[in-house]
Symmetry: C2
Subunit: 299 residues, 2 copies
């Protein structure tokens, strides 16, 4: 029978451990900063969820809501905000809520890279991912981190044949996940929307683990999997169709064929928020492992 | 007819341009530092070649040759040396000659990460590769940089079908090359020595570009390529057999079958030294694009 991998089930235990960490690291008066510049309803939902998660574990979440008039959202002003958060010793993490509004879209990675490395809890600023890629630290951005945590909970992070197919190559998921899996000596097949789609399906069928993060609703169907119940299929997609939450995977079509599957929305998704806080705590613990020349002087 | 891709042919032109850059950037009194800790004959040859290349373009290369008594090669001492080079404003680049001696082998990445980011001309310290992975700057470690430069010179860096097979996943070549090709939206097949070797051969046959950096002499033979002269085969290997320089590719076996091939040693290899100096110059030009919080204060 196909096993359902459910992040949701493991959240209470993770929260309990994080609450203990917040207390033992003395972070009760610290906060996680969310820089929220967009005018985006989904973003508002995510921000609310992050705030609630923080409350649950005893870590404040402060939202820095900037004037949304595009004319005023100049990069320089946002950079100044980030730099003041970098300097504030009470701030233990800085998150820029994505997507940014159109006027700042091109500046996304540049702004992320301005976050002090020890506070880049989303891991999207580049440097932390680079240090992870050479094995200096273990660190992953929130979403690929959530994927691996979930696989690990269910014993699939160190799979027998170690062949992974990753659909699409975004900065947020596909690319850091591929980097991590190379570190773990998996064979990597990394596809994008320009890849030969027929061959992609064939290759997915031959893989042990398939991770889809394309944002294309119901892209992955029974043409992507074998039917011998030996493959693990992870769905990172999240969208809506006919008022229902759906992902990249057309679950009905593959359900009986694979060994394990992450349903949407309770599969991967609740862990992505948790992973942000796990990263925050981990970076507090690992700060001293980061190259000294990069430390930000605490005020 | 199979085309031979020859780095050697393009070195004089690259040297000429770099010499102009050294002059226009006013680097005549600056130097590239090589930290040489090993007792390794090949390393001595490489160090000599780097020094000579530097002389050719008017940039001094200073070798910091540490006492090779293993007991004295403590990580702390090497870190101190790196930190003093970081602070020296005449020093425009720091290279740690690899491999390090056994006593420091485990510290390789940690030591590399201590190099000031703007001076990490080998790009092995992690942060630069991280910034490159999110598209903040264009940057590659010397060897994958050399591979792409060579492909670009011959018009193969933007190949028609964009499917690359990369053999092995080292920090030095395979991993950064895969990251770069994801950025360029290629389909990536990244193999290691634990991959199913039969499938690896089949997949290489179906790829447009094959880059081998395994260090296994003559691993890649006619079982890895089609015979329709449409594939490009890059050999990053470099070793010796029966007194002759040889690479990963068994050239005689594949020669007539591929569109283009890099012979050993004059294919990729001369460009790896050149790329180190190209990186040095590029980092001088791009310093201001790097996140400010990472700058090392110049003394």
């Amino acid at each position: 029978m196909t096993q359902l991998l459910l992040a949701k089930k493991h959240i209470p235990e993770i929260k309990k451990r994080l609450a203990e960490d917040v207390a033992s690291l003395g972070l009760e008066d610290s906060y996680l900063a969310i820089v929220f510049l967009g005018e985006n309803t989904s973003s508002e939902t995510y921000v609310r969820m992050k705030r609630r998660f923080g409350e649950n574990i005893g870590l404040s979440v402060k939202v820095f809501w900037q004037d949304r008039d595009d004319d005023q959202l100049i990069e320089e002003k946002v950079t100044e905000l980030i730099e003041s958060l970098n300097k504030d010793s009470s701030c233990v993490g800085v998150v820029i809520q994505l997507p940014l509004p159109p006027s700042l879209f091109q500046a996304t990675n540049r702004l992320y890279s301005k976050i002090a490395i020890e506070k880049d809890v989303d891991g999207l600023g580049g440097a932390l991912m680079g240090y992870a890629s050479i094995g200096l630290i273990d660190f992953l951005p929130a979403t690929p981190g959530a994927v691996l945590r979930l696989l690990s909970v269910y014993g699939f992070a160190d799979f027998q044949w170690k062949k992974i197919a990753i659909l699409w190559q975004s900065n947020l998921v596909g690319r850091p996940l591929a980097i991590e899996m190379m570190k773990r000596w998996w064979t990597i097949l990394s596809f994008n929307e320009y890849s030969d789609q027929k061959e992609m399906k064939e290759r997915c069928k031959k893989s042990d683990l398939i991770v889809s993060c394309t944002g294309k609703i119901h892209l992955v169907n029974d043409e992507f999997v074998r039917d011998d119940q030996t493959q693990v299929l992870v769905d990172v997609g999240y969208g809506h169709k006919d008022g229902k939450a759906v992902g990249d995977v057309y679950a009905e079509s593959v359900m009986a064929k694979v060994l394990a599957l992450t349903p949407v929305p309770w599969g991967v998704w609740p862990l992505t928020v948790a992973q942000l806080f796990i990263n925050t705590i981990e970076l507090q613990k690992k700060r001293l492992m980061l190259p000294q020349s990069l430390w930000i002087k605490r005020s």
